[in-house]
């Protein structure tokens, strides 16, 4: 048997949503995950990248034994999450960002110590580790502060320490840097790297909707949208497919009715996205050939749109996402916003 840290096979999850009182009989179904097949090796830092509502949290909940899959199966640390949750749980831990959980009446140390005891850690070892980890995220001077007196950002740091404290085989971090300021996010990313570097058998799966985070941090990234994994590879390989394409960013005067559709109808334009900016717009273009730029400029001129700045750049994961989905991630989120949980 191969010893993957995480393995899923045709994993799907459907949420049944009851209508409101008037339409009680109508039962809507929402497909949050659809036939997800992933394998994560031990020692990997694996990223799930996708917009809000893509199904990232749902996947983490299934992998951490909080939620049952509708169909398919998943193994974590070698054990099936549905059949053997009691064998999976001692081997994992999980932290979700963007929420401030914890017992406010307890100090930072007490909160963390208590969890270490639930995991059966020797008390002395736990206390040493707590101090070490708090130092690494710059929280050691708050060790005796009641956690209710911490800011949300610091509470989130405390929770992240809780995840690392028990030294799991597989650690799940759901948007660990969500809502953290730049410095705190950097501390957390540093902690992630050094924890993984210290022991090559440790595995970490994190979700994010920050492109840069996925790109800089992760060994491999799965791009997920509307419950489906669209691509899964190293950031470099994901971008390599776009290397032959030419990627341009153009800042222009107001668009005068120009739409991304008009641009995409051009044969050489693979994908185009428009964003309104102060006093004008920004075009992001993925072109099959650099020469196609001429026809784009032509269209702009016809519409009386002035080019203010034009840059050619290397592909990013953002471009990979746009190439796969046809929209920028933030535009997907804007569309989804009214339904997002």
């Amino acid at each position: 048997m191969t010893d993957f840290a995480i393995e899923t096979k045709d994993l799907s999850r459907i949420y049944k949503i009851r209508g409101n009182k008037k339409e009680k009989q109508i039962r809507k179904e929402l497909v949050a995950l659809e036939n997800v097949n992933l394998t994560v090796e031990r020692g990997e830092l694996f990223g799930l990248l996708g917009p809000n509502g893509a199904g990232k949290t749902t996947l983490i909940k299934i992998l951490t034994t909080l939620l049952a899959p509708t169909s398919g199966w998943a193994r974590v640390a070698g054990y099936d999450v549905t059949q053997h949750p009691n064998l999976v749980r001692p081997r994992i831990n999980m932290v979700s960002g963007g929420e401030s959980s914890g017992y406010g009446l307890l100090t930072v140390r007490e909160n963390l110590w208590m969890f270490s005891q639930f995991y059966g850690m020797p008390s002395k070892e736990a206390n040493q580790r707590i101090v070490e980890l708090l130092k690494m995220v710059g929280l050691e001077d708050r060790i005796h502060t009641k956690s209710s007196d911490l800011s949300t950002g610091l509470r989130q740091k405390m929770n992240i320490v809780r995840g690392f404290l028990t030294d799991p085989e597989v650690l799940f971090l759901d948007e660990p840097t969500l809502g953290l300021d730049v410095g705190a996010a950097r501390d957390v990313r540093k902690l992630i790297r050094s924890w993984l570097d210290a022991d090559k058998s440790r595995t970490l799966l994190l979700t994010t909707h920050y492109m840069v985070e996925a790109e800089e941090l992760c060994d491999r990234v799965a791009i997920i949208n509307k419950g489906r994994v669209l691509a899964c590879d190293t950031p470099a390989n994901l971008k390599r497919n776009l290397q032959r394409d030419a990627i341009f960013e153009i800042e222009t005067s107001p668009l005068n009715g120009l739409t991304s559709q008009i641009l995409q109808d051009q044969p050489e334009v693979k994908k185009a996205a428009l964003t309104d900016i102060e006093g004008g717009a920004r075009l992001e273009l993925i072109l099959k050939e650099e020469s196609a730029l001429a026809s784009v400029i032509n269209i702009l001129t016809q519409k009386d749109v002035k080019v203010r700045r034009l840059t050619k750049r290397e592909p990013t994961l953002e471009d990979v996402f746009m190439d796969l989905v046809g929209q920028k991630m933030e535009d997907v989120e804007k569309e989804e916003a009214p339904h997002a949980v």
């Binding site: 951490t64 749980r89 401030s100 969890f115």
Partner: protein
């Protein structure tokens, strides 16, 4: 079952429960709360009793009611103490999901969370009983108490209440937040059906069976008999049963409730994972 897993679940939950319950900013206020609240509720009962009976404190009815009410404190304390942890962890501290994925035994964790309320309830019961003896002539003579019967009944009764608490906790896992008073609500409802403040004969015949299947009924009777034997026997409800028979019934019903609690937990746990309820937070 992993013994060290159950032990640490229970002991750490007890520690946590005690921190959460007693970690008030002002220990003086906490002490007042532990003493004043039970006395106030006992006082209400005494006032009602004196209005209805014209102050017949010498009637055997009085100690019957007084003791029933005093020990009923445990019903609310233990049932609410155990089941409240679910709501507290899920809604308030947002830690239920982290407890759930930890290698602990969840039922033992919940039981541990109920210990502090049990201890506070014990203080309340002692305060109420002392007040009754000192000021209201409740005929409680410590040299006449059947201590063996008392301790065995207390132990069995608290176990029984803890099993009922587990059933409530499991159900709480499944239901929305407006069940946040489920523990107190169930305790309040059963108050009338378990012979706490009047014999079951007072109830309409069709309601009495509720009292007869409730282990609390037999437990309260045992507590009264162990403390002030003959007075309690002046009441018809369970008079034909010997102490041993009552203990047997209580033991049997406790086992039944323990079995029910295991299956309720398994089923609710399964359904909660199926429906995604474990980390659901309702928006107040």
């Amino acid at each position: 079952m992993n013994r060290s897993e159950t032990t640490r679940s229970f002991t750490m939950a007890t520690w946590l429960g005690w921190q959460v319950e007693s970690n008030w900013t002002d220990p003086f206020l906490f002490a007042i709360y532990v003493i004043i609240k039970p006395l106030a509720s006992a006082a209400i009962l005494v006032v009602m009793y004196s209005i209805i009976t014209g102050g017949a404190y010498n009637s055997p009815l009085f100690p019957y009611i007084y003791l029933g009410n005093a020990f009923y404190t445990y019903v609310g304390a233990v049932m609410a103490g155990v089941s409240w942890a679910v709501i507290d962890d899920r809604e308030h501290y947002k830690t239920l999901k982290y407890m759930y994925i930890a290698p602990i035994n969840i039922p033992f964790y919940w039981l541990g969370r109920g210990v502090s309320r049990f201890l506070i309830g014990t203080v309340a019961v002692i305060v109420i009983l002392t007040a009754g003896v000192l000021f209201l002539h409740v005929p409680l003579d410590l040299t006449q108490v059947n201590w063996g019967l008392f301790l065995v009944s207390l132990l069995l009764g608290v176990t029984m209440l803890a099993m009922m608490g587990l059933i409530l906790a499991s159900i709480t896992l499944m239901v929305a937040h407006h069940f946040f008073l489920i523990g107190e609500a169930v305790a309040g409802a059963l108050y009338l059906f378990s012979g706490a403040i009047f014999p079951l004969e007072v109830l309409p015949a069709w309601l009495r069976p509720v009292g007869y299947v409730m282990p609390i009924t037999y437990w309260l009777e045992l507590m009264r008999r162990s403390l002030i034997g003959e007075v309690a026997q002046a009441f018809p409800t369970l008079a034909q049963y010997s102490n041993l028979q009552l203990l047997g019934i209580l033991l049997g019903l406790t086992v039944v409730f323990a079995v029910i609690s295991v299956f309720t937990f398994r089923w609710c746990d399964y359904r909660a994972r199926e429906l995604g309820l474990i980390d659901r937070v309702s928006n107040y």
